[in-house]
């Protein structure tokens, strides 16, 4: 790139940042004015009100349940979709169609799907599960398809060369290359879904988010603090366990 071109590129980037900052009313003054309120907010949370621990744990369990059912159902749906969206496994018409559909559905996040499903099937954890399923299935299908496209043909050929049937070659040449990766991706999405399911309650789709939102609305900060602590603990435990498991898989 010429020197002039480089200056022009920097000018455009800088311009975009300033333009965005002005438009979003970024103001150091307001931030500083707000500091005492933030401090006040945190101070009122202490000490956490442990009498709501039961509710918090109930919410946490429901969040785990939403993530478990949602992730498993999504993985099952993603399996055929992943093969349909793999260049080396599907005919071109199917491949391009599947890629298009997946990209469109993946553009919208879980929380938006939750709003839609709450409107469709009513309040509670079920619309939360549906929201997790739709978004996760499309993400997993994309990840699965990339793993399928990265299969090494050599070992498959070697299995066929022993006189194996097509089914045996699939079982012993293809699956050992895919299954550990599929499980690892699925566990990773489960981790992410715990966090996603934690905010589902804000739109009435069940889980621990419902209690956070309720206590904040009631200005019951000590109770909200307890629920937040449970959420932090939950996310940390799931992340730790899941990453340990994934390390053993791949």
């Amino acid at each position: 790139m010429s020197r002039g071109g480089r200056w022009a590129a920097w000018a455009v980037i800088l311009g975009a940042i300033v333009w965005s900052a002005v438009a979003t009313e970024v103001s150091a003054g307001r931030m500083i004015e707000g500091l005492p309120f933030m401090w006040d907010f945190l101070r009122r949370m202490v000490p956490p009100d442990l009498s709501v621990l039961g509710n918090a744990l109930r919410g946490a369990v429901e969040t785990i349940q939403i993530a478990v059912v949602g992730t498993v159902a999504a993985a099952v749906l993603a399996l055929p979709m992943g093969f349909a969206a793999a260049r080396n496994a599907a005919p071109p018409w199917l491949f391009y169609g599947a890629r298009g559909v997946l990209n469109a559905f993946r553009a919208v996040d879980t929380l938006v799907y939750a709003l839609f499903f709450v409107a469709a099937v009513g309040l509670g954890p079920f619309p939360g599960v549906l929201a997790v399923v739709v978004y996760t299935a499309t993400v997993l299908a994309k990840l699965y398809s990339e793993a399928i496209e990265a299969i090494e043909p050599g070992p498959v050929e070697a299995v066929r060369a022993t006189g194996a049937t097509a089914l045996q070659a699939l079982r012993w040449g293809v699956l050992p290359q895919l299954v550990p990766q599929f499980l690892s991706f699925t566990l990773y999405r489960f981790e992410t879904n715990i966090r996603a399911a934690a905010v589902l309650g804000f739109v009435g789709a069940g889980g621990i988010g419902f209690y956070i939102q309720t206590y904040l609305r009631l200005l019951n900060y000590p109770a909200a603090a307890t629920v937040l602590l449970v959420l932090i603990g939950l996310v940390m435990i799931v992340d730790f366990a899941s990453s340990r498991l994934r390390a053993r898989l791949v």
Partner: protein, 247 residues
């Protein structure tokens, strides 16, 4: 054991990878296939077990035609032909034992093999052969934790478990350093001598070809340009195979 008649293979953009190959290889021979890269060594070996379908010509293994065979017949032929690849082509996340047992797939009951239930007899065979190739006690190790030389021995164990009449080896040592190359060639020589298995190995190192091959077949541009015992491989023959630039 192996008969090849008028074998030709055209690839798109690479016509005449094989350009009329005629060969006869007897039971129990140890043949070294040499030639510059692109001479058609891999293509020839892959035509022998039907991994590559030739454009024209015939291949027979024993009394079975490979060319034009139904997929059923082809599987039966392949069951008796072991193939050792340059890149080993093992399932890296599976254990040494599982990889070796893949050599039993064509012999095992189909649905049991899909579940990974191999016969106790097959397990015993696998243990014996792993010991024989020098991998005793490593059966439960994941293949990707082994060295290159060990991995190639797993691949040879897989081929041996087929109880093959023929073992085809495509540059079996070119991913290995020279010392390991000798161990692998030594192993192929042993199965040739002790079990009477016919071995056809493509090699690009002349010295290995001459010290292990009982018969040297030289390929150049898809044609057989030399065929004889190691002693016959003089300067003229070398030039014919590798061209005048070869030392």
């Amino acid at each position: 054991m192996i008969r090849v008649r008028g074998l030709r293979k055209d690839y798109p953009g690479c016509p005449r990878a094989l350009d009329g190959v005629d060969l006869e290889i007897g039971r129990g021979e140890f043949v070294a296939l040499i030639g510059p890269s692109g001479a058609g060594k891999s293509t020839l070996l892959r035509c022998l077990n039907g991994l590559v379908t030739p454009t024209a010509g015939e291949v027979w293994i024993g009394d079975q035609a490979v060319t034009g065979a139904s997929s059923d017949v082809l599987r039966r032929v392949r069951a008796r032909v072991g193939f050792v690849f340059q890149q080993f082509n093992l399932l890296r996340r599976l254990s040494v034992l599982d990889n070796a047992l893949l050599g039993r797939l064509a012999h095992a009951s189909r649905w049991r093999s899909l579940l990974g239930w191999f016969e106790p007899a097959d397990l015993a065979k696998a243990e014996t052969i792993l010991t024989r190739v020098g991998l005793e006690g490593l059966g439960s190790r994941r293949v990707d934790t082994l060295s290159g030389g060990q991995q190639q021995r797993v691949a040879i164990a897989r081929a041996l478990l087929q109880q093959p009449a023929v073992v085809l080896a495509d540059e079996p040592m070119s991913s290995l350093d020279p010392a390991l190359a000798h161990t692998v060639m030594e192993l192929l020589r042993r199965i040739n001598r002790e079990d009477g298995i016919t071995v056809v190995a493509s090699l690009h190192v002349m010295e290995l070809a001459q010290s292990y091959g009982q018969r040297i077949i030289g390929l150049s541009r898809g044609r057989v340009v030399h065929d004889g015992p190691p002693a016959s491989l003089d300067a003229t023959a070398t030039t014919r195979i590798f061209g005048s630039t070869a030392a």
